[in-house]
C-alpha cells in the first residue's frame, strides 16, 4: 500500500474539463470509464438477448417431439445463442471491465488510444445489428452452429452466410483494436513504480489475453473469408470436389477456437485473483506462480486444438500428442485453483456477494475442468463427442466460469463505478437462485450426454424426457434469476443505496480503491 500512495501523490481527482452531456457524450466518448460502461451495458443487453434464444431452445426441448419451433429455426437458435453469448456477452463484458479497471489499476489517465477505443466499441452494435437482422429475413439466420463447419456453412447454408461473415469481420476488428489498446496501455502507461511484477493479476491476465486475441482473431477472419469465397466466389478451400478438404476447416477453425476458449477464461482468473484476497483478508498466495501459470495456459492453448476433432480419423500419434498436451493444461490450472484455496486458508473470510460468486466459480469451474479432462481422453471422447456431455462441460466453464466471474466482478466494482453499495439482500437472492438453478440446468446434461443424447437436435429419444423437462425448468429458473441481477444493477445505477466509501471493501488493496467512489470522470491526470 505504501508504494501505491507514493505513486499517487497529488495526481488524481482533478477535473480538467466538464463532462459532455446528452447522446454525444456516448457517441463521441473517448473516456475509458464511459466506454467501459457502454461495453458492460451492451454485454448485459446481449446476455438477455442470447438468453432468450436459450429459452427458446429449452422450451422446445421441454418435451420430446417437435413442439414449438421448426427444426431449422431451432438450429438458428443454437447458432445465434452461441455467437451472441461468446462475441456479444462474455467478450465485451471482459473488455468493458478492462476499460474501466485497467487504467485505474495501473495509474493511467486513460487508455492509450482513446479514439480507437471509441471505434472498437461502436463496431460491436453494428456487427450485431447485421447478425441479428438475418433472423428477420427470408430463410432466416445462420443455422450451422456457432462453429460454422464447412460444408454446413458453405454448400448447405443460405445467404445469411454473407451477413454472418461480415459481422464476424467487424467483431474481429473490434476485438483486435480493443486488444491493441490494452497492450499499449499496459506497456506504456503504467504509473512510475508500477513494475511488471507489481501489476494486479487482473492486468496480467488481460495482457496475456490481449496477445491471444491479436494472434487468433486474424485466423478467424481468414477462416470466415475462406467460407465466403467458397460460397460465393468459386474457390474450394473446403470442398473436396475442387481439391479442398472439409477437415481442414476444422483444423483452421479450432486453431482459432481453442485459444478463444482461454480468451474467455483468463480474465476470469484475474477477477477471482482480485476478489478472493479481498474477502479472505490475505494477500494472494503464489503471485509469481499465478503469472507463470497464466502464460503457460496461453502457450499450451496453441498446441491442443485437435482435441476437438478426435473422431475425424487422425493418426494415433497425433491423437496421443493432442491428448497429452490437453491434459497438461490441468497442471497450470490446478496451480491456480490451489493458490486460491491457499489464499483462503486461515484467512479472516467474510461472504459478501462478490465472494460468494467467486467461491461458486472456483468449485463449479473445477467441475467443468474435470469434465474437460474426461473429454481429453481419446477412447472416452469417442463416446462423448457431440453429446450433451460436451454441452454440460462448456457451460460449466463458460456460465459458472466466465459468466459467474463477470457477475462477481460487477458486484465487486459496482460501488466504485456508481458510488453506492448495491442491495446486498437482493444480491444474495440472486446468488442462491442462480447457484441452485444453474446446477439444475447443467448438471443433468452430463447424464443425458453419457446416455447418448446428441446436441443441436430439436427432438430426442423418449427415455431422455424426464431429465430434459428437469433441465428446462432449471433453465427457466436460471433465466428468471438474472432479472434480479438486472434489478440490482439498475438500482445501483440509479444511485439508490448506501453511499460507498473510497475503500469500499475492508480488505481491498490496489490503486483503484484509493480513488473516491464513484471514481471521478478523470483520474491520474498529470498536471499539464
Amino acid at each position: 500500500m505504501s508504494d501505491h500512495k507514493q505513486i499517487l501523490a497529488g495526481s488524481y481527482g482533478t477535473q480538467h474539463q466538464p463532462i459532455p452531456g446528452g447522446i454525444t457524450r456516448w457517441l463521441y466518448s473517448t473516456n475509458h470509464k464511459d466506454i467501459g460502461t457502454m461495453y458492460l451495458v451492451f454485454a448485459l443487453a446481449m446476455f438477455f438477448i442470447g438468453g432468450s434464444f436459450a429459452m427458446v431452445i429449452r422450451a422446445e426441448l421441454f418435451k420430446p417431439g417437435l413442439q414449438l419451433v421448426a427444426p431449422l429455426f431451432f438450429n438458428q437458435m443454437t447458432t445465434i445463442h452461441g455467437l451472441v453469448m461468446i462475441f456479444g456477452a462474455i467478450m465485451p463484458a471482459f473488455v468493458g471491465l478492462a476499460n474501466w479497471m485497467l487504467p485505474l489499476m495501473i495509474g493511467a489517465p486513460d487508455m492509450a488510444l482513446p479514439r480507437m477505443n471509441n471505434w472498437s466499441f461502436w463496431l460491436l452494435p453494428c456487427a450485431f445489428i447485421i447478425l441479428l437482422s438475418t433472423l428477420f429475413m427470408e430463410g432466416g439466420g445462420p443455422a450451422s452452429g456457432w462453429t460454422f463447419y464447412a460444408p454446413l456453412s458453405t454448400t448447405y447454408s443460405n445467404d445469411s452466410t454473407a451477413f454472418f461473415v461480415f459481422a464476424v469481420h467487424l467483431l474481429g476488428v473490434s476485438s483486435i483494436m480493443g486488444a491493441m489498446n490494452i497492450i499499449i496501455t499496459i506497456f506504456n502507461l503504467r504509473a512510475p513504480g508500477m513494475t511488471w511484477m507489481k501489476l494486479p493479476l487482473f492486468v496480467w491476465t488481460w495482457l496475456i489475453t490481449a496477445f491471444l486475441l491479436i494472434a487468433v482473431m486474424p485466423v478467424l477472419a481468414g477462416t470466415v473469408t475462406m467460407v465466403l469465397t467458397d460460397k460465393y466466389f468459386g474457390t474450394s478451400f473446403f470442398s473436396a470436389a475442387g481439391g479442398g478438404d472439409p477437415v481442414m476447416f476444422q483444423h483452421i477453425f479450432w486453431f482459432f477456437g481453442h485459444p478463444e476458449v482461454y480468451i474467455m477464461i483468463l480474465p476470469a482468473f484475474g477477477i477471482i485473483s482480485s476478489i478472493v484476497p479481498t474477502f479472505a483478508r490475505k494477500p494472494l498466495f503464489g503471485y509469481t506462480s499465478m503469472v507463470i501459470a497464466t502464460a503457460s495456459i496461453a502457450f499450451l492453448s496453441f498446441i491442443v486444438w485437435a482435441h476437438h476433432m478426435f473422431t475425424t480419423g487422425m493418426p494415433l500419434a497425433a491423437e496421443l500428442f493432442f491428448m497429452y498436451t490437453t491434459m497438461l493444461i490441468a497442471v497450470p490450472t490446478g496451480v491456480k485453483v490451489f493458490n486460491w484455496v491457499a489464499t483462503m486458508w486461515r484467512g479472516a473470510m467474510t461472504f459478501e456477494v462478490p465472494m460468494m460468486f467467486a467461491l461458486a466459480f472456483i468449485v463449479l469451474f473445477t467441475i467443468g475442468g474435470f469434465s474437460g479432462l474426461m473429454l481429453a481422453m481419446i477412447p472416452a471422447d469417442f463416446q462423448y463427442q457431440d453429446t450433451y456431455f460436451v454441452v454440460a462441460h462448456f457451460h460449466y466453464v463458460l456460465v459458472t466460469g466466465a459468466l459467474f466471474s463477470i457477475i462477481a466482478a460487477t458486484y465487486y466494482w459496482l460501488p466504485k463505478w456508481t458510488g453506492v453499495m448495491y442491495d446486498e439482500l437482493l444480491g444474495k437472492w440472486h446468488f442462491w437462485c442462480s447457484l441452485i438453478s444453474v446446477n439444475l440446468l447443467f448438471f443433468p446434461m452430463h447424464f443425458v450426454g453419457l446416455a447418448g443424447m446428441p446436441r443441436r437436435i430439436p427432438d430426442y429419444a423418449l427415455q431422455f424426457s424426464g431429465f430434459n423437462a428437469f433441465i428446462s425448468i432449471g433453465g427457466f429458473l436460471f433465466g428468471l434469476s438474472q432479472l434480479i441481477f438486472l434489478w440490482v444493477v439498475i438500482k445501483a445505477m440509479a444511485k439508490k443505496g448506501e453511499k460507498a466509501s473510497a475503500q469500499v471493501w475492508e480488505g481491498a488493496e490496489g490503486l483503484e480503491w484509493t480513488l473516491a467512489s464513484p471514481a471521478p470522470y478523470h483520474t491520474f491526470q498529470s498536471d499539464d
Binding site: 482473431m217 481468414g222 478438404d245 480419423g313
Partner: protein, 171 residues
C-alpha cells in the same frame, strides 16, 4: 505518443502475419498430408511395376463408389471386394452410366481408408487420372489397374478404396 505508435505498428504487423498464416495453413495442410499420407489421398502419378510379390500375406481390398449429388450418374464397382497378395497386379472395372438427357463430364476423386495406408496403394492405370465425358444416357466401363506395395505395414489387413464422382463444369 511516439512510443504508442511504434508498439501499435508492431502489433499490426503481428495481426497481418497471423491473417496471412491462416491462408498459409491451406498449402501447409496439403503438404503435411502428402508427406505423411494421413488424409487418404492416393498419389496421382502412374505407378511403375511392383518390386516383387509377397505371397505369404493376403490383403482384402474393398471398393466403394458414390456419385456426388451434383451429378446424377449411376456409379458402382463390378466387384465389391477382392483378396490379393501385395505386389500382385489386379484389374477392377467400375460401371458408370449417365442417367440424364444431357452430356456431362465427371471426375472421380479417390480416398483410401485407413489413411496411413494410402501411400501403399499403387495405381498403374486409373480412370480417376482423367476427366470422364459421357453423352446423354451413355454408359461405359472404367478401368482401374493397381497393386498393393509389398512394403505395406503388417498392421493393415483390409484397405477400402472409395471413389466419389464429381461433376466438372467445362467452359
Amino acid at each position: 505518443m511516439a512510443q504508442h505508435k511504434t508498439l501499435l505498428r508492431r502489433l499490426l504487423v503481428i495481426c497481418a502475419l497471423m491473417f496471412a498464416f491462416s491462408f498459409a495453413l491451406v498449402p501447409l495442410y496439403s503438404v503435411f498430408c502428402k508427406l505423411t499420407g494421413i488424409n487418404g489421398k492416393t498419389s496421382t502419378n502412374v505407378a511403375g511395376a511392383a518390386a516383387g510379390i509377397d505371397s505369404v500375406r493376403e490383403i482384402k481390398v474393398e471398393f466403394l463408389a458414390k456419385a456426388d449429388h451434383s451429378i446424377p450418374w449411376s456409379f458402382a464397382p463390378e466387384v465389391s471386394q477382392i483378396r490379393l497378395h501385395p505386389g500382385e497386379v489386379n484389374v477392377v472395372n467400375f460401371r458408370v452410366e449417365n442417367m440424364t438427357d444431357e452430356a456431362m463430364v465427371g471426375q472421380a476423386v479417390p480416398s483410401v481408408s485407413p489413411g496411413e495406408a494410402a501411400q501403399y496403394f499403387k495405381k498403374m492405370e486409373c480412370f480417376c487420372f482423367t476427366r470422364q465425358p459421357l453423352q446423354a444416357r451413355e454408359s461405359k466401363l472404367m478401368r482401374l489397374q493397381f497393386y498393393i506395395d509389398p512394403a505395406l505395414p503388417k498392421t493393415f489387413q483390409t484397405l477400402t478404396l472409395s471413389y466419389t464422382l464429381f461433376r466438372i463444369n467445362e467452359q
